[in-house]
Amino acid sequence: MSFIVLIAAGLLVPVFYRSNIFIAKMIAVAAFIVAAYFIYTGQSLNSVFSYFVMDDATRLMEFVLLATLAAVSLSLTGFERPLIAQMLFLAGASLAFLETNNFFMYIVLFEVIAIISYILVANIRNFYNAEGAIKAFIAGAVASGIILFGFALFSFTTDSFNYTDMNVSGKFTLIAVAIMLAGIFYKLTVVPMHGWAADAYSQVNHAAAAILSGVIKSVVLVATFKAFYKFLVVYPLATVLIFSFFAILTMTLANFMALWQKRISKILAYSSIAHSGYALIPFAAVASVYSYSGILYYAIAYIFMQTSVFLILNDLRRELGVKYLEDIKGLYKKAPLHSLIFTVQLFSLAGIPLLAGFLSKAVAFYAGVDAGLWWIVLIALLNSALAVGYYVWIIKHIYFDEPNNNVTINMSQGSLIGQLILLAGTVYFGIVASDVFSATISL
């Protein structure tokens, strides 16, 4: 039911684009709420098709996803109206993607989400938008090719695509999985497959970038972990080697690149790449019971904070023309509310406690320690301490410097409600960890 509601709303909202954008937004929000209600009552795709299952972890992630998308749609302006319908479709596809227990469906839905993401970034207003969009599209197409090749290899060796009875120890399985992961690493922006993301995230419309870097990446993280869990368990050594290598490479390179940047959107883009590196640690630590909690927590925390910072940047860019670090000097005087929320979310990205960024890192990294990879965790923690350098540098420009001019802006009501939803998520999951654990580990 939730799926039908979302798709129907997605088809309906374009009717109101020209006449009244407010009604379109309200329909979208209502659809998200109704979908959440149906998920709460347990009706979802699993009640119709056998290759979808709903469990507590999926349900939690779906609530978070719908809340985030509702927050995004509230803070959109008329200029970004095509995103509303696209988000509704994305929500429908993501629900299926999270619920599926069939590898074939996983691949199909991965492609569906990829196609939606190409449409998301195609809101082109200038040359830079076009460059970002084209890069996202070409990288995505390459990734699709690689994934399909790996999937073709894998499909030779298995009779069933169901997660529970896939043949995970066939002749070519290890190679097939490695190839598929190479493709998925494009979407997760793992170094060295990250090149497109640094440009795409920073150059496409920031609201689209919020969805692309925040929402889609989190959803892919959780669904990929579920899909590949059996493979990872069967090949422990390869898992540890591959994932810890790419984790360290990704976070280190991305953090150093971020320290160099002058454009705020580029810093946030590289920070997003670095976060992919941290998120690979629970994959490497698949031997630990906490790995699923770790990845779920990471995805939940990440979706709130990353979406929020890009949305705020979107507001600032529209109202104040903010592009570079110099442009946000003394922002606390020009836009106190934006500054405060931006700062809190940046602290969360940096991993400061009582915010979701900290507890999610703690759980994800503890999974690493639990699996015996404490030195990788130490590298990751030192990396995240390095990352504090550029987050604090942004905050330094906001609060410690004096403004160049006296323009002041207010936050629109929709934006404020959206940001408060995201902020509530960040703070709630920064203090209360029990939801994630009770969804993933039964006592």
Partner: protein, 476 residues
């Protein structure tokens, strides 16, 4: 009031205080003062409720996550109560000494926000929550130093934040390994289990605490942060944040892994000695008055490490006394150094000279606190240093009496500073300065002076607390 509110209310309500008092900014300081006085009485109430035989006073369990063995356990013993009383007292005095601060609404809301996590650090026995509060104290400090500090404030604030954050990460991995080996996040429960390979954990945790204390190779953030911070914030940095390092060292190394600590005690001793002497020599060399005080602060914290390294009841009691003594002695020195800069616009002692004639009250308190820092009998400094030397000699033999050298070195820099800045011929800069000190500042400095002398003559209340805190070592 539930114990957990004392931690969380200030963190979340400080923003409210800021927005409410934005129109009438002077109200903020009364709210802050009122809250800190309440905190002091709450801490004092806990002091009265402490179990007589030592051990913990249980305050509550919150936010339980059974799957992860993770909950906010609040319980306090005499050591925590000593720290809580010290923190609350310093916070009250800080309100007085920053009575006329610029942008008071933001300043005092940040102070209120700071009071939450700092109480949390000393109240929780859950290792992960301890770490969370530990990290959270950095956030208000970043803003307090970065916005209200002196010329190089941004550099100092960011360096302070990054430095302590990076070293905390080592500690964090240590805590992770602790949980992996024992299956508990709670200190009191970990204590009952046997640790398999504690050496790695010990060093990881020691690194985190050592950078906070700070000890010799990791001390470089301190002179920057303490000098550039506004004086009242220097008081908090030296009086409370450094104590977090010493508190952590006692709680997590001495109490938790006594055998391993004993094994590495000689390393602690060497590091402590180097810190004390090296920082002392740096202080002699320094012309910059506030840097001189900052190095003196490092030097005294080195003594605390020496005292902790003895691993005896006497040593730990001496360490606790010196921790409190250091907070009360170094604070007026920082305050007057900052005040002198504010009045004369120079940092350099050789450009001051003759302060005594123009500002006798401040000069007298500077001399009193300076004498306490060098260990004059009748002041807290004497009791602290004497007990540390006695306990160290008991533990290591007569050769350790070289740490008496530290007293000699501090006599060197203090007396020379007094000679250069306070007495001496009146410099032209001092000549043309009209010194003014507000009444609240005078009052706060008077309280510091009183406490230094009071506990110097009557140190028993602190040693009573130490007796309860370290009763697990057998008591006196």
């Amino acid at each position: 009031m539930v114990a957990v509110d004392i931690i969380f209310a200030p963190i979340f309500l400080s923003a409210l205080v800021y927005f409410m008092t934005k129109g009438a900014q002077h109200i903020a300081k009364y709210i802050a003062l009122g809250w800190f006085v309440i905190l002091f009485f709450i801490a004092f109430n806990w002091y009265n409720q402490l179990p007589a035989d030592g051990g913990f006073l249980f305050l509550g369990n919150y936010l339980s996550v059974p799957q992860f063995g993770f909950e906010l356990t609040l319980q306090i013993d005499a050591l925590s109560v000593a720290m809580l009383l010290l923190t609350a007292a310093l916070l009250i005095l800080v309100v007085f000494t920053s009575w006329n601060e610029k942008k008071p609404a933001a300043y005092f809301s940040l102070l209120i926000m700071f009071s939450g996590p700092i109480f949390g650090v000393f109240m929780t026995t859950n290792v992960l929550w301890f770490f969370m509060f530990w990290e959270l104290t950095l956030v208000p400090m970043l803003f307090l130093v970065g916005i209200w500090g002196a010329e190089e404030r941004v550099y100092a604030a960011v360096k302070f934040f990054l430095y302590t954050h990076v070293f905390a990460m080592f500690m964090f991995v240590g805590f992770f390994l602790l949980y992996k080996q024992t299956g508990y996040w709670d200190l009191t429960l970990i204590k009952e289990t046997a640790l398999a390979t504690p050496a790695l954990i010990w060093w990881l945790m020691f690194l985190g605490f050592a950078a906070k204390l700070p000890v010799f190779p990791f001390h470089t953030w301190l002179p920057d942060a303490h000098v550039q911070a506004p004086s009242s914030i220097s008081v908090l940095l030296a009086g409370v944040l450094l104590k977090m390092g010493a508190y952590g060292l006692i709680r997590f190394t001495v109490e938790l892994m006594p055998v391993t600590t004993l094994q590495f005690a000689k390393w602690m001793l060497i590091i402590g000695l180097i810190t004390t002497l090296y920082a002392g020599f740096l202080a002699i060399y320094e012309r910059h008055i506030k840097k001189m005080v900052a190095y003196s602060s490092i030097s005294h914290m080195g003594l605390v490490v020496v005292a902790i390294s003895t691993m005896t009841y006497d040593g730990l009691s001496a360490a606790l006394f010196e921790m409190i003594g250091h907070a009360l002695v170094i604070s007026p020195l920082f305050l007057i150094a900052g005040w002198l800069h504010h009045q004369t616009h120079t940092w350099y002692m050789d450009e001051m000279g003759g302060i005594m004639k123009k500002a006798p009250y401040a000069a007298a308190i500077f001399i009193l606190a300076g004498m306490a820092a060098l260990g004059l009998p009748g002041t807290m400094g004497f009791v602290g240093e004497l007990t540390i030397i006695i306990s160290a000699v008991k533990a290591y033999g007569w050769w350790i009496a070289v740490i008496a050298l530290a007293g000699l070195i501090s006599a060197g820099y203090i007396i020379w500073a007094v000679r250069r800045a306070i007495h001496g011929p009146m410099s032209p800069i001092v000549e043309k300065t009209a010194f003014t000190m507000s009444l609240p500042e005078k009052f706060a400095l008077g309280i510091y002076a009183f406490l230094i002398v009071y506990f110097g003559i009557n140190p028993q209340p602190i040693f009573d607390l130490a007796n309860k805190a370290f009763s697990f070592f057998g008591g006196m």
